[in-house]
Amino acid sequence: MNGTVARLTARGLLGRRRALLLLLLPAVLLSLSAMARGLAGADQQLAVTLLGGFALGTLVPLLGLIAGTGAIGPEIDDGSIVYLLTKPLNRHAIVVTKFAVAAAVVTVLGALPTFAAGLVLTGTSANLAVGYAVGTAVAGVAYCALFLLLAVVTRNAVVIGLLYALVWETLIGQFVPGAQALSIQQWSLAVTERIVGAPAEQLGATSAVGLATAVVLLVVVTAGATWYAGRQLRTIRLTSEV
């Protein structure tokens, strides 16, 4: 961890346009929840649809993508990463710092609004707010690690990340149940399912994987992606975009 790198990363992440986009997503979730509560009242089923489908299924992957790739992608893109790499800093420390900042941004802008939305939608009944808040927090952290690795490895990080988060996890997962075993969304849903407890089954908030598997996979992916990104950063090749 390095304070200066963290400060610069945070400044880059929360630059004008990126911050606008990062704030827009939770704002939509909150206003949608407020509207749902106002019109339909406290409805647990609706809350599961909104928190599971929109917050965990769309919002957090997008936030993780913007924050994870945004933490290092632009610097690699315009080549200014060399100024950072020529400093006497451990490459792993650089990646860990950038990952920590991105994860913090996603937690603040993804998990906290999800918690607030859960409270607005159902109050504290059935632990839905807490369950989905924890679920989105672990999902956000894992997405950040994975997409940061993608940004180090490839120039098409954003498109590949989108294909993974939206096409693989959501679209293919609907038709091919096996695809759900390799899905950060499902792993996090297992955590949510455990916290919500018994009502999860009848509300349809069930995951395709068991809790133990899910936690192990989440930890392995997060730690593994961060470590491998640091390793890749040791031998990064800078090419110009054509």
Partner: protein, 303 residues
Amino acid sequence: MSVEGAGPAAGDREHGVIHDIGYRHYDGPRLGRSYIQRSLFTESLKGSYGFGRAARTKVMPMLLLAAMCVPTLIIVVVASVTGGDELPVGYTAYLIQLQVVIAVYVAAQAPASVSRDLRFGIVPLYFSRPMRRVDYVRAKYAASATAVFVLLAAPLTILFLGALLTEMPLGEHLPDYLRSLAFAALLAVVLAGMGLVIAAFTPRRGLGIAAIVSVLLVLAGVQTAAQNIAVVEGADTAADYLGLISPFSLVDGVAHDVFGTDTVLWGEPPGAVGTAVFVAVTVLLVAGCYGLLLRRYRKVTGT
């Protein structure tokens, strides 16, 4: 190359003189604005599928095109085994089901088309030619819309050819196919416009991609959620009008009323007023995107 008048005879002259130092002039034909516009259109269109660019830029568009087309092959094979006069999925329904893939393509392609020019300061070079801003915007918009249309039309064509090969009635499938092409064209114009506007305001490529996908998917998500709430509440007219929120449901509604395609998403524009509102919103959206693009390119800097 203006050089101040030098030499004894020019000593009292105020004006600078351009010396003709004997370089050969170009006096061949000048091809003019429309030629430049056409070239920019073709190059941008080719560029959106990676032709004329590095090999690795071809990977993504081709992958997405394959993602659009491969399921249709499976559908055609299934239909030929099971028989019958109908495909298991409608033409427009197929496109709507793959709206995520379409959104990702629009998002990946629009920034590649305009953001690089802005970021590397190439736009002022374009405008130092006898090309106007309008020409640039028109060429880019047309190329982008055509590229998206190709992505949409390819799977439709495979479905149609598959239907013919399995001897489904031509009289039923040809009108459906043509209607769905009209739907695809309208959707392409709307999506390309939105994509280009967002891309033109976010010169960073990665951010542009994320911004376009976020806007398209969040609008679709809000539309679905809001419509569900409205249906549960029994506000059917309101639910119908909520289709205006997402570009996909908007085009779906317009295409249903104007071209006669089957609606895929819930509801349709209510009555003649609904039709007028949906058409008006679509026209305003496209005109607005075009206007915003023109505004964006009124002043560009070279950095």
